[in-house]
């Protein structure tokens, strides 16, 4: 049976049981508003839930009962004993139906027409109807023939009785029969009277007027007795409060244990050590156990989603598949509750905004059915939830329009934004791009709330969307909120805890170290791997120190500069100087630490004096009177028993100034990704030869690294060679300084290409690093492309082509019939015959790599960094025989470039265009060909490139 139905039954049964007790009171106090309200609410809940669960019969009964109860509650109808019976009847019927559902999973066959008729009659104020049928019961508690009921008995009611009796007397009426049978089988009914037909029941009741209360009690008992038999439960419903309390106490226990452990640690081996170790284990297990009671599979939060998607697809005429993986991933109840709504909202959004209608999908060459996938998994103390769809992606134009409409940015600003940046705006309040406001979504309150909610629990949300391909949201949330790991830091002799979750890394600043804090107009900044991070001094923002030592140092230098300029040193400087002196004396070599923290997508550094350990802490709320200190999220007791304030990275981020607003966080993130784009990193192999200048070569060009022993080296026709994998491999010493001692060995970089391979002998392999190469100094020295700063050192970037050529000039020819052998033979100044190649690539490395390669192959090479420059050349009438263009470039990518080049009025419309990319998926290639590229070559594929150039040019000729 459906989990939802099970839940519903459990809940309904519980409420009904509760009601059983109250009903007795209703008997005595028919107009008890509270009680009527309670029954009303129950009916209402049942009705509502039934509609959701598709239980029409139950829904009907509840609906009609609710109507009547509504009138009682509002005081429109006075509750008479007759009505009380009617209410009982309705409740009994509901119990019966619920019981059936519990047993069979389905509603029993049959109709409740009679009951509903009575309820409707009652609703219309024909109180008698209730009385009349129920007459007997009505008088119930008091005398069987109470005056009231008798008075109310009019002709009409009599008719109804007759009517009903007729009905019930007509056994041919199938529904009636079934109803009777049903009633008979109801356990509850046994208690009332013999299982004869209902009319008889009523008659008998009329006559005998058995007081309903006793049967009710019996029923109650029966139900209770029966229940354990029906659903033998292995689970126990425990109030959340109890669990929460338990958790709190365990947290305290953990803290106390930490404290004890710390004491014992300092005392060395004592008699407490062993029992404490046991205590330690028990507490750990207890903690795990209690945490486990709070853990719930994330599937619980997803259980309603299939239904929502189903309804959504019907409503919107879309075909949507919902694929869920990782339902079993467990996370803390509290966290689960907090993300449930955001998740539901986002899945709905994907269905509503993301997935297109089938016709559009087919038009877009996609399968008719859209897919929304939901994925959850653990990753390093976090839960990652991913919601992706293969729909149309975020409509950038509409977002732009909305941004302008809401005045969130100007047109100029939008111009400069990347599409990622624009997409981020959906997290802004009041930005819904759904064309129509549907019941489902589009009210413009959504993603901003989602984001706020997720960030509230220390999580983050990321968005990736490709127009036409779909969107992916990635949510990262902590496993639990109860116990967190925190980094303990010190500033101005005070200790503070920073939740580890937001700490990205730690940097030490020493007087003579490489890392230094820099200033722009007094604002401290730090360069972290070429990224500029704003810094805040913890001491300053907490008001612990007017100025930290480094602030003073800085201020002094600034003042000195000023005063030098003005030639007018004033007293203030002296005081400062004095301060500085004292500071220097007090802390002769003061080391500072920067805690690099991340809030949302915003990175910043917090300057602290010292960094201690990390500790597991239990976040306790601060006292009420300290609540408005936004820099703290709580406080806790450390293992040593002292109280420590927990810093709130969000608050600190805000304290760093306006840079911390969420928009700017986005911008920051964007900048980062932009940066990543433009400074694409290359894996480099660093090695040393002779002098200490490191040399670098792209790792992708190196096939293998080997150590070659001196005795293995042979000479064949003057060429140093080695037998390598069954062939002779030529070896080239990197330069003449390489000496291979007798019996020694040297590392060799092996370059392989089809059947060819060669080795370059070097002195020492240093490292492999990821770095962006920007060749700053060009060199005329053979074998080197130039120098670049790599890993903080000036490094020579090696021109592999030079070495390859030195071994075998046919290396690049590949034995094929390239027409450029002739070019090779030609003198270099004979440029007229050389084919002119234009290389457009944003990466200087590849430009530098390709230039010698193509020059060697006999081309006249021109390189450009930006497609825009190339287009300018085009307009200026510069001519090339062939153009090679990178695909991934900032500002204008290769596809766009190609479109421009192939425009009808372009001067280069007939110039062949070859795409060069590190990504060469079939889709890319197809797209490339579509926009006008003649061919598509992978970046490291020298042979194919040369071959392609040859073929393409040959075709043109």
């Amino acid at each position: 049976m459906d989990d939802l139905i099970l839940d519903f039954i459990t809940e309904t049964n519980e409420s009904l049981e509760e009601l059983d007790l109250d009903l007795v009171n209703l008997e005595k106090n028919p107009n008890d508003k509270d009680l009527l309200g309670k029954i009303f609410r129950l009916m209402h809940t049942i009705k509502g839930t039934c509609g959701f669960l598709s239980l029409p019969r139950l829904e009907k009964v509840a609906h009609h009962a609710e109507n009547v109860l509504g009138r009682f509650r509002d005081g429109d109808l006075e509750v008479t004993a007759g009505y009380v019976t009617l209410i009982f009847e309705s409740i009994d019927q509901i119990k019966y139906i619920v019981g059936e559902i519990e047993e069979t999973g389905n509603e029993p066959e049959g109709s409740d027409a009679e009951l509903i008729a009575k309820l409707d009659a009652a609703y219309e104020g024909k109180d008698v109807s209730g009385d009349a049928n129920a007459v007997g019961e009505s008088s119930s508690g008091s005398s069987p023939k109470s005056t009231t009921s008798q008075k109310k008995e009019g002709d009409e009611e009599k008719d109804i009785i007759v009517n009903i009796q007729e009905k019930s007397l007509a056994p041919g009426d199938a529904t009636m029969e079934e109803l009777e049978a049903a009633f008979a089988s109801t356990p509850g009914m046994d208690g009332i009277v013999n299982p004869a037909d209902i009319a008889k029941d009523e008659k008998e009741e009329v006559l005998e007027a058995p007081p309903p209360p006793p049967p009710k009690k019996k029923k109650g008992k029966k139900d209770k007795d029966a229940k354990p038999k029906k659903t033998p439960t292995k689970t126990l419903r425990v109030a959340v409060d109890v669990l929460e309390d338990l958790m709190t106490m365990v947290s305290e226990l953990v803290l106390t244990r930490n404290q004890l452990l710390q004491i014992v640690r300092t005392q060395g081996d004592t008699e407490f050590t062993t029992p404490l170790q046991r205590l330690n284990h028990v507490v750990s297990e207890l903690q795990e156990g209690v945490m486990a009671t709070r853990m719930q599979p994330i599937g619980n939060a997803w259980s309603k989603l299939p239904r929502i998607i189903r309804d959504l697809s019907l409503e919107l005429d879309k075909k949507i598949d919902l694929v869920m993986t990782g339902q079993d991933t467990e996370l803390d109840r509290q966290v689960l509750e907090l993300i449930q709504d955001p998740l539901t909202h986002m899945v709905r959004n994907s269905g509503d905004h993301g997935i297109e209608i089938p016709a559009d999908r087919i038009a877009a060459d996609k399968s008719e059915t859209g897919t929304i996938s939901l994925d959850a998994f653990h990753e390093g103390g976090h839960i990652i939830i991913r919601i992706s769809d293969d729909g149309k992606g975020l409509p950038e134009d509409k977002i732009k329009a909305k941004i302008l409409e809401n005045g969130l940015a100007t047109e100029d600003e939008l111009e400069e934004m990347s599409s990622q940046q624009i997409q981020q705006f959906i997290f802004h309040a009041g930005l819904s791009t759904a064309e129509k406001v549907t019941a489902v979504s589009g009210r413009g309150v959504g993603m901003d709330v989602v984001r706020t909610n997720i960030e509230k629990i220390g999580g983050s949300i990321e968005l990736k969307s490709t127009q036409g391909k779909g969107s992916t949201f990635t949510i990262k949330i902590p496993l639990t909120l109860a116990i967190v790991s925190a980094l303990i830091v010190e500033s101005e002799k005070e200790r503070f805890a920073i939740p580890q979750l937001s700490v990205r890394e730690l940097v030490m600043i020493s007087d003579h170290g490489e890392n230094q804090i820099e200033y722009i107009k007094g604002a401290p900044l730090f360069r972290l791997r070429d990224r500029l991070l704003p810094l805040v001094s913890l001491g300053s923002i907490l008001g612990l120190s007017e100025k930290n030592a480094f602030d003073q140092v800085h201020e002094l230098t600034r003042k000195q500069e000023n005063s030098e300029a003005e030639q007018d040193p004033n007293d203030e400087d002296k005081t400062l100087e004095k301060n500085l002196e004292t500071n220097k004396k007090a802390t002769p070599h003061k080391n500072l630490y920067i805690v690099i923290a991340q809030v949302g997508g915003y990175d910043f550094g917090i300057i602290v004096d010292r960094v201690f350990d990390t500790e597991e802490i239990v976040v306790k709320p601060v006292a009420q009177m300290l609540k408005d200190l936004t820099l703290f999220s709580g406080n806790t007791i450390l293992g040593d028993g002292s109280v420590i304030m927990i810093l709130d990275p969000n608050g600190i981020a805000n304290a760093t100034g306006n840079i911390a607003t969420s928009d700017d966080a986005d911008t920051q993130q964007q900048k980062e990704s932009l940066k990543a784009d433009s400074e694409r990193k290359t894996s480099l192999l660093l090695f040393k030869v002779g002098d200490n200048t490191p040399k670098a070569v792209p790792l992708s060009l190196v096939a293998r690294l080997e150590n070659i022993k001196s005795e293995d080296i042979e000479y064949s026709s003057g060429q140093m060679t080695v037998q390598y994998r069954g062939t002779l491999m030529p070896l080239v010493p990197f330069d003449s300084s390489i000496q291979i001692e007798e019996g020694g060995e040297k590392p060799v970089l092996v370059f392989a290409d089809n059947d060819n391979s060669m080795g370059i002998v070097v002195d020492e392999i240093i490292d492999i690093i990821e770095e962006h190469i920007d060749i700053q100094l060009n060199t005329s020295q053979g074998g080197l492309l130039g120098s670049a700063i790599i890993d903080g050192h000036a490094t020579d970037v090696v021109d592999i082509a030079y070495f390859l050529k030195s071994v075998d000039s046919t290396w690049f020819d590949d034995g094929s019939d390239t027409p450029f052998n002739s070019g090779d033979d030609d003198d270099d100044d004979d440029t007229d015959f050389k084919k002119r190649v234009l290389i457009v690539d944003d990466s200087p490395f590849f430009r530098n790599m390709l230039t010698p390669l193509l020059s060697t192959a006999g081309y006249n090479v021109t390189t450009l960094e930006k497609p825009a420059d190339a287009l300018k050349m085009c307009d200026d009438g510069v001519e090339f025989d062939i153009i090679i263009s990178d695909i991934e470039m900032p500002d204008m990518d290769g596809f766009e470039f190609a479109q421009h080049v192939k425009q009808a009025d372009s001067k280069w419309i007939n110039t062949p265009l070859v795409a060069l990319s590190s990504h060469a998926t079939p889709e890319d290639i197809e797209r490339g060909l579509k926009v006008g590229f003649n061919d598509y070559v992978a970046k490291f594929d020298r042979d194919t490139l040369l071959d392609t150039l040859a073929r393409t040019l040959a075709a043109i000729d």
Binding site: E494, L544, A623, M625, L626, S642
Partner: protein, 154 residues
């Protein structure tokens, strides 16, 4: 003491404390603990009256410097302080004062309302005055004392 209190219905028990030579009384039933000088953790940016927080048997207690609350000069460093721990709205507070004296059972007859000449800051936290033989005892209204800290915060 408790017995005395029950015997004579017309008297109340007070823990006497001194701050800058002035005697105060705190209703004894409100007092949870009396502490010697404790190391407190400073809470940056909090109101000046908030001296910090400390760990009292696993509960975090906010320490309030009553001298500052009353607008009195800070005590000299060489004089050690004492604290009275009270509970207010389910939170514990440690009131840092100069000295804790005896528990006195005071007759209702000796109780007087605040004199009009009393400084406003004191009137706010005092619920009345008891006349003792040698001196006067100001009854400290702990709720008022703690309640208004929020509002004075800079």
């Amino acid at each position: 003491m408790q017995n005395e209190a029950t015997e004579s219905t017309s008297s109340k028990d007070f823990l006497t404390i001194t701050i800058a030579d002035q005697t105060f009384g705190i209703p004894v039933l409100q007092v949870q603990d009396v502490l010697r000088e404790q190391a407190v953790t400073r809470i940056p940016l909090a109101a000046p009256e908030v001296a910090g927080s400390l760990n009292l048997r696993g509960r975090i207690v906010t320490a309030i410097d009553v001298r500052r609350r009353l607008g009195l000069p800070d005590r000299n460093d060489d004089i050690s302080s004492m604290s009275v721990v009270v509970e207010h709205k389910n939170e514990l507070f440690s009131l840092i004062i100069d000295h804790v004296g005896d528990v006195l059972s005071l007759e209702d007859a000796d109780f007087e309302k605040n004199p009009g000449t009393l400084e406003q800051a004191w009137r706010d936290i005092s619920s009345g005055i008891y006349q003792l033989e040698s001196n006067l005892l100001v009854v400290m209204d702990v709720s008022a004392l703690l309640e208004n800290i929020n509002h004075i915060k800079k």
